[in-house]
Amino acid sequence: MPSKKISLTINGEAVEADVEARMLLIHFLREQLNITGPHIGCETSHCGACTVDLDGKSVKACTIFAVQADGGELLTVEGLANGAELHPLQEGFFQCHGLQCSFCTPGMLTRAYRLLQDNPNPSDEEIRMGLSGNLCRCTGYQNIVKAVRYAADKINQAEGAN
């Protein structure tokens, strides 16, 4: 199989790798790099479990090839916390019981991260709309909405204080 050398930044670290041209980004992350935070729930772009952040956009990593991420800046759930310090979204999910089996959580967190970058003070309805590409089978979404709200408030308060 033809392969190609790619280089990109993942969670702040430079990565170089040879990848098969047909290798999906999600498989590259999970199997080649052992970055197993992003999950596979469908491989058909429906569930959002594989969501990562690529160059300032949420991307379903089962929907693009690894080679398409060449030169990009990629963030996965593993890169959200700042060392021991949780991202307000992670804290929100914990405080508001926004996860159960947690298979959706890494995708939800990275998607919510982008949502708050784009819209720092979303209404509940905007949160629901913003997360509509990410399925959760366990929580019924209500506490996820709360968790995102919690994070938005916390970030906004911290910024207000600065």
Binding site: M1, E20, R22, M23, H27, R30, E31, N34, T36, G37, P38, H39, I40, G41, C42, E43, T44, H46, C47, A49, T76, V77, E78, L80, A81, L86, Q90, F93, F94, Q95, H97, L99, Q100, C101, S102, F103, C104, T105, P106, L109, I127, R128, M129, L131, S132, G133, N134, L135, C136, R137, C138, T139, G140, Y141, Q142, N143, I144, V145
Partner: protein, 800 residues
Amino acid sequence: MSDAPELTLEEREATIGGIGTARKRKEDARFIRGKGNYVDDIKLPGMLHGDFVRSSHAHALIKSIDTEEALKVDGVLAVITAKDLEPLSLHWMPTLAGDMAAVLADKKVHFQNQEVAFVVAADRYAAADGVQRVDVEYEELPPLIDPKRALDDDAPVIRDDVAENDEVGQGSRHHPNHIFEWKVGDKEATDAAFETADIRIREEIAYPRCHPSPLETCGCVASMDAVNGKLTVYGTFQAPHVVRTVVSLITGLAESNIRIVSPDIGGGFGNKVGAYPGYVCAAAASIVTGHPVKWIESRIDNLSTTAFARDYHMTGELAADKDGKILAVRANVIADHGAFNTHAQPMKWPAGLFNIVTGSYNIPVGHVEVNGVFTNKAPGGVAYRCSFRVTEAAYLIERLVDILAQKTGIDKAEIRLRNFVQPEQFPYSSCLGWEYDSGDYPTALQTAMQAVDYAGLRKEQAEKRDKGELMGIGISTFTEIVGAGPVRNCDIVGLGMFDSCEIRVHPTGSVIARLGTKSQGQGHETTFAQIIATELGIPSDDITIEEGDTDTAPYGLGTYGSRSTPVAGAATARAARKIKDKAKKIAAHVLEASEDDLEWEVDRFRVAGSDISMKMKDIAMAAYSNVPDGLEHGLETTDYYNPPNFTYPFGAYICVVDIDRFTGDVKVRRFYALDDCGTRINPMVIDGQIHGGLAEAYGIAMGQEISYDETGNVLGASLMDYFLPTSVETPEWETDFTVTPCPHHPIGAKGIGESPNVGGVPAFTNAIVDAFAHHGVTHMPMPHTQAKVWQTLNELGLNK
């Protein structure tokens, strides 16, 4: 041994974080960092990947399987067919229901996407390439899709392998496509009651084929250590010990040489109870190749092959007097089990606990008949977030009661209040054989009615009807039966449905406890620690809960059917109490007091009326250093709990919908759910379970269906077609509760996981039908897609 300054009793209780605390979840620490460990995250040295060649036909003979081209693919190591498994006797496997299921199709395929060959390759891409190149030649046979035609004289015979058998594991049968006939109740008395009753209603009510579809599909990594002869299988198993026993039975390996590990599981909802060909093939492939072999299902495989739920075709009838008092219930069901009988029910209950169809109502007589049949569809019939066909039963009775209300002109809440089993009737023996342990149904419904201003809603509805607008109010006052179960009538492949907990208190006072159950998101690491915390006075943060490794956990029957808290939770409390009894002896010894003088106080034993006490933490150390003569050292024990009865959680749900009469769009304006699960261990977790279960109920009621065309092509087997609700359409949930402790459970808990699914679905249907009730509509078949609702509007001419 008194210590000052003292915390108050309340402060000490608070530090413990025991039963009743909305404790944050312990497992979340890894999950929110993306550090969960799910089966597909497991990578072993030299690991290979397996993938299936699947049948394109629903019913066909296999003429030939050509693997030559596949074996030429770079990275493909082996292609396994039934012929290869036959010498190992692994081409068929026993099912949990006493039937046999093909591991790989043996001369014949019985449903579309059935497993035909297993390609083993270096990675998943090579495996997929190999699958593409296996050439299977079929000779098509006429398929049988409609379960109602399964027992016709001229119906195609699906299972040639058992065509002549008089039974396939669940009692006698009378047709090659027949699986079982199950009858319960007093037929004569029921028929007589129907004959003389003033009011009779009858409705055909189908519960469509749906699928639990957890976000993580099924999968495993099997690893045979040829040197030690030990087989380890990591997989998505809701019941790891049962898997170990079954693997031992089918492979002949000693059970001590099998280790089953369930790592973190990404949701189960019944999908991960069964044994699937993928597990067997991965294990066989590992034995054959000497490498670990991983098999992970795709979403399409998941929806179209492993563990569908429901597919119950019910005819329900009620007899009543003019006041709406129910005199008798009758139900006749055709249960479509697909091509193999692989449903997971206690063995003696081929229709599960369907005879809870009396619901929350005091019904003097009843009769139920269920016939299971084979069709050319995927096998299963699992309990999708449900306790063994309870969902079907609750749906039927909650629908029938509504229909009776419409027929008699009695309000739908009022008719329930007239028929409820009354609080003073408990323990209540139902006409179909259950002993309901406890309940207070009238309080639940009246509380719900007040909370939503039921009278006000009915008034609003009447006004809207005058204006031609459609608004529906759906009530569901369901009773569940969960916590399987008493060993005398519940077993799976002969294993009694007890459960277990082992507790070890370490010298410095922290604890590890292991259980026979397995969390799939329910939060066991948090909630079971709370039970121990309260019982032993040790902070729940100091208690580690472990499940899922059969080499370390005590034997248990696993997590499904809302049984973890009712059964393993009871074992946990009892194990803790055994420890506490021993701790008391040690405390008496150290304090030089009589045991009789010691009283328990949150986290310590106190010599009554004195300031002399000894904390559990200090007792723990003494257990390893200073025990009285005749007492063993150490502070650990195991409890195996055989419940005396099931538990009977119940609830009162009210759903309000507004329907757009031009488009058929159904808006859930309000959903109020009152649940009574007895003692509440962690209110936060309970609310989370209810939210999740209601969202599933919403999905089932509004859109989930795995249907087939007449040639047996499965429709709806991808997330494009199969409805999993998103955050946008999922309604907001209001939760509420009453507490009626379970009288026979050590801490009074009843289980909650499934109530919202069981009770939620009828609330949605009842609301939607209620919106049309004034037009004479008594039933609308699920799922209530916009297109189907529009059809009803169109037929009634309401969209003009």
